[in-house]
Amino acid sequence: MYFRQSGYYKTNYKSDMALLPLPIGQATAIGYALLFFVILPLAFDEYLLSIVNIAAIAVVGALGLNILLGYTGQISIGHGAFMSVGAYTAANMAKYLDAPFWLTLPAGGLMAALIGVIVGMPSLRVKGLYLAIATLAAQFIIEWILNHTPVISGGIQASIEMPRPEIFGVVLETQAELYFFILPITALAIIATFNLVRSRIGRAFIAIRDQDVAAEIIGINVYRYKLLAFAISSFYAGVTGVLYTYYFGIANYEAFQLPISIDYLAMCIIGGLGSVMGSVYGAVFVTLLPIVIRFFMETVGVFFVDGNYLAQVIAQMRLILFGGLIIVFLVVEPEGLNKLWQNIRNYFRVWPFSY
């Protein structure tokens, strides 16, 4: 049981504006750190850690898309394509320059941001459905270019092998080792996003989302800030692509096609638009769902479905469930899992006194 003081009185603006103003928030943060950096890697086996790793990578991408979609109110159906830009940038740097991860990660992000600006410049002049179509076009164009430019994509099946990341001469091979590589980056991405969205720039994004005319009149160059949001979002996507590439040991555009872009939209919508923690919940949820479906179908489903069709049924179920969930969340709880979780928490905070 938590105890909250009846009041925790802030005596200056700085403490009022701190990320974790309450002592209980700081305790929770330390608790999370212990859980994720000590307990979880000890308790989980390689298989479970491989799932955690892939979810942690997805968190970075979801954060990036949510900055654009949830905070700035601009849609992109090309998030996956920007991941592939990061992926090939890193793979080429590793292949030709023997570049370490601490160079490939920012470089992959920056290259994606650059391409993001190029795509964004014409696209962000239009809104809504037109922007959706423009970014969808970008998804296909980037895919096509990568697939047809052997200089970038390596030629054979447009894929480049990626060496394992290396820290102080230690090559990270196991999932547990990769976990300690990926998790700090994810943690950093979460904290950086929390900071961004409460900063001058984050507020400007929200202002554009809520009232673009008033935003412009109050002194925000709306077009430039939309472009900035697009670049930042693409940067996250690029970093995500680099992480995937280290994780899978290969850069291949097929891992970043349209369904991936849709997955990331689903993460933001299901997790909660315009919410940092929502991005985390959404990424974890969307990553776990197909795994849970497969587990369920392989244990229970075999009694109902012909074993030969199992794989197909699983794939279809995933699509149907995603589609359904997106609609349900958009209609019933636009603020996503994050809001549901808050409601539950608030309920138990006053439990057993309902109000």
Partner: protein, 263 residues
């Protein structure tokens, strides 16, 4: 008060021969207005007279078809709205345009945007300089919150506030810009008597304490005659009169326009 009448007074805003058409509709036609510094300048006229359109051109939301706009000595006719804000123009909207996903506090912080500098990297780090800047501007915003008696509502999202309060928050957001020229489009419309009196108080205080030049559109004639230093009257897109409240009140054309349009 009366230094507007003497020709040597400094000019805050000079609008010359401004015109704007929408399709076939002449919203504003060849309107010239000169607003001396430090005055409360009212623009009145029947519905559809072109008052909001004129304000929209001054704040840069519409580009004029013809004419020029000077802020002080600077020609701002071609400047985009965001740059006009950095030059010191702020406004409120006839149909309130707040950022409803943000709290009262953050709406006002938005008004500080043009005065803040934190870039992308500093924002990601939120450390040192960026944080100090945030604290410093928060202090300015808290002064405005006190001034407008919004302390209890700081943390409320503006979407949930009552109409009169939203109008007040919008004034606060404009004040946070620390404008030299404040444009108010019907700040008292739809308010009850008490709210109106509060708003009149705030407008007078802003003008009196900070010397802010205020251009104000308003329908309540009682209020207008009470608080304005000068008045311009628009009718069907054209300016039909301007002058002190007394001059305007006794202008036959003005009386005609108001009686003629059913007021």
């Amino acid at each position: 008060m009366s230094d507007g009448a003497n020709g040597s007074a400094e000019i805050a805003l000079r609008v010359e021969n401004l015109s704007k058409n929408f399709g076939g509709v002449k919203a504003v036609g060849d309107v010239s207005v000169t607003v001396p510094k430090g005055l409360i300048y009212a623009i009145i006229g029947p519905n559809g007279a072109g008052k909001t359109t004129l304000l929209n051109m001054i704040s840069g939301f519409y580009a004029p078809d013809q004419g020029s706009i000077h802020l002080g000595n600077e020609d701002i006719t071609r400047l985009n709205p965001a740059n006009r804000a950095t030059k010191g123009i702020a406004r409120t909207f006839q149909n309130i345009a707040l950022f409803n996903g943000l709290t009262v506090l953050d709406n006002l912080m938005m008004g500080r945007h043009v005065h803040m500098k934190a870039g992308v990297l500093a924002s990601f780090l939120y450390w040192g300089k960026a944080q100090r800047e945030e604290v410093e501007h928060r202090r300015r915003v808290e002064e405005i919150i006190d001034f407008l008696k919004l302390s209890d509502l700081r943390r409320e999202p503006t979407g949930a506030l009552a109409y009169g309060l939203r109008k007040r928050v919008e004034l606060g957001r404009a004040l946070a810009v620390e404008p030299s020229l404040l444009l108010l489009d019907e700040p008292m419309a739809g308010m009850n008597q008490e709210e109106k009196e509060d708003m009149v108080r705030y407008v007078l205080d802003v003008n009196g304490e900070f010397g802010t030049t205020i251009v104000l559109i308003e329908h309540d004639m009682g209020v207008i005659m009470d608080i304005s230093d000068r008045i311009a009257v628009l009718d069907q897109g054209s300016k039909i009169a301007d002058g002190t409240p007394d001059e305007v009140r006794n202008n036959p054309q003005v009386i005609e326009a108001y009686l003629g349009s059913g007021h």
